[in-house]
Symmetry: C2
Subunit: 341 residues, 2 copies
DNA sequence: CTGAAAGCGCTTACAG
DNA sequence: CTGAAAGCGCTTACAG
């Protein structure tokens, strides 16, 4: 295909000048630049990124490590990242690393260990020391969105505060028998997203002087709609005193809880208030009160930061970790109300 | 970082031999190979893919053009593609090209026009002649999954047959007043997915001798849960004779229809049967009867085919287009039953 | 402002 | 089976 030599020949200049004219780096006379640009357009020349990477050491490619594609939050983040990257002229190389899968080692030890990306955005995963080390050695910045990695920059909402706010909303309405449908692993991994949210729930309950909860009012489930459905069915179907409100670990879990309530003939919000966390695009349709976060915007922001990290090279700039948590907002809809007396 | 020269020096061989030993191409004495491998492992050497691409002309990278990431079908396909690609040692470069967006031109004219990918998998989009031409000129195979492109290989279910089967299920149960919640653009674009499904509905109705439908029994909506909800609210809320069954264009639309029925106090399946198409992971929870397809498996298959296309080079092999449509299956659950007499 | 030359890190004929 | 050399397509000092 057309190479830069062809453009140079056609424009009657050297390859060096053609390169400078096209990249905009270095001084080139205006008339020369136009001539080169015309020649390039004529033969449909576009520089080979691989050849350029080889000499510049920059690939203009960012790797994204993400545990799920097909879950609302992650899908939104991914779309936000993609849009921002394309806008900046960068490619996005996708590494889907499901929890507990065997793909993970291969991705870190082989794919990411090569020099195919300039940086990595890790979404919702915690990286081990040795995983970061591989990238550090290659001088590849790592940015964590949500998860954590030793020594890496990090962007995240305050999950604990979000769950606390959700719980306080219910307390403020007058609820006292409040249950929490937590994400799986919440109790076992206190620093995971489900763990932090569970803590926020407990914080708020404790501050209100309410029993910080025997196990009875916290159940765990997969953070999906069917997960929430199954868990809520158990929680709400038990004979005996029922909670008057549920803090769901995520909006999807809340949707499942809503459906379980309906199946059991429990009126929402008359007999049961339900609040979620996330700001899922379906929340409005379900009338779900929730603490919103903005994953697409988070993805966009992650790209902004990572591009800065790439640009700064080795400058010991302050990490953006110091920044405040990402924004979050309580949106009240029809799934929560005062408890029926 | 470690380059192949370092490995060669450490192993006491030439770069050529080191390259051959590591790539497994060309003959190398077993003892030499082991020595080279040990040396590579010792200094953590991994070949730079960019340098290799430059000489081989292969990037071991496949581009995926996809209109949405965050919609169940597309997310599943993407995960399937990613898994298969990683398994084969290929990278996946993601190009999210939402319908009507301005990203599309940039992706085809710039990103895909470079030589960064060996092939392109286009999921659920129809490509214009000039879009394929760009890739053809660079000898990049294109595989369409779902959509179409002039001259490109194609993999797809038979959407028309799927909708026809869904409708026949209802007819077989004894329904005659059957409505269709179609996807937007169904009437305007007969060859789009919603268009084909609408046709399948009409085929079945006509074959049963039922009025092929004044506009009254077909409504269009976005192919999402809120879209289906809004459309079904209109459809079912009208005073007058109500349909006894609905063929939803997709499972998500069916979920929305279910929710609309519930809101209107219409019992499913007592007063209304609902069937979807897709086999969404939530279908079981909703008790939704549906015609399943298998997007993750489709993604896997797409990779298999595209890798074959890459390997064959310029051989005029038969395109896999000739193949049968991808598999599909009717799964009956609790959302459909005989109409109440 | 422009050009000749070197070199980024590989792989692949071509000899031996 | 192995090595020396050329070359993939760029960019970037270095001169001028």
């Amino acid at each position: 295909m057309a190479a830069i030599g062809d453009v140079a020949r056609l424009a009657g200049v050297s390859k060096a000048t053609a390169s400078r004219a096209l990249s905009g780096k270095g001084h080139v006379a205006d008339s020369t630049r136009r001539r080169v640009e015309r020649a390039a357009a004529e033969i449909g020349y576009i520089a080979s990124p691989d050849a350029a990477s080889l000499v510049t050491g920059r690939t203009k490619n960012v790797g994204v490590v993400i545990p799920f594609v097909n879950a609302w939050f992650f899908g939104e983040v991914l779309e936000g990242i993609e849009r921002a990257l394309i806008g900046a002229g960068y490619d996005l190389t996708l590494y889907n690393v499901p929890p507990g899968g065997d793909a993970r080692a291969k991705v870190f030890d082989f794919f990411l260990a090569r020099k195919r990306v300039d940086a990595v955005i890790a979404v919702g995963v915690d990286l081990a020391e040795h995983e970061v080390a591989v990238l550090d050695r290659r001088d590849k910045p790592v940015l964590c969105l949500g998860g954590r990695a030793p020594g890496a920059a990090r962007l995240a909402i305050d999950d604990r505060a979000a769950a606390q706010l959700a719980t306080e909303h219910l307390l403020h309405l007058g609820h006292t028998r409040i249950a929490h449908v937590a994400g799986s692993g919440a109790a076992a991994s206190p620093h995971s997203v489900p763990g932090e949210r569970r803590h926020g729930f407990l914080d708020a309950m404790a501050a209100a002087g309410l029993a910080p909860g025997g196990r009875s009012n916290i159940v765990e489930s997969a953070m999906t709609m069917p997960g929430g459905y199954a868990a809520a069915l158990q929680l709400l179907g038990q004979p005996g005193v029922r909670p008057t409100a549920v803090v769901a670990c995520s909006d999807e879990v809340a949707f499942g809880t809503l459906r379980a309530a309906e199946r059991l003939g429990i009126d929402v919000p008359g007999e049961l208030s339900v609040i979620g966390i996330d700001g899922h695009e379906y929340a409005e349709m379900f009338g779900l009160t929730t603490v919103e976060q903005y994953p697409e915007e988070q993805g966009r922001l992650a790209v902004e930061v990572v591009l800065r990290l790439i640009a700064r090279g080795d400058d010991p700039d302050p990490l953006p970790d110091s920044g405040a948590p990402l924004p979050t907002r309580l949106v009240v809809r029809s799934s929560t109300s005062r408890p029926r007396r």
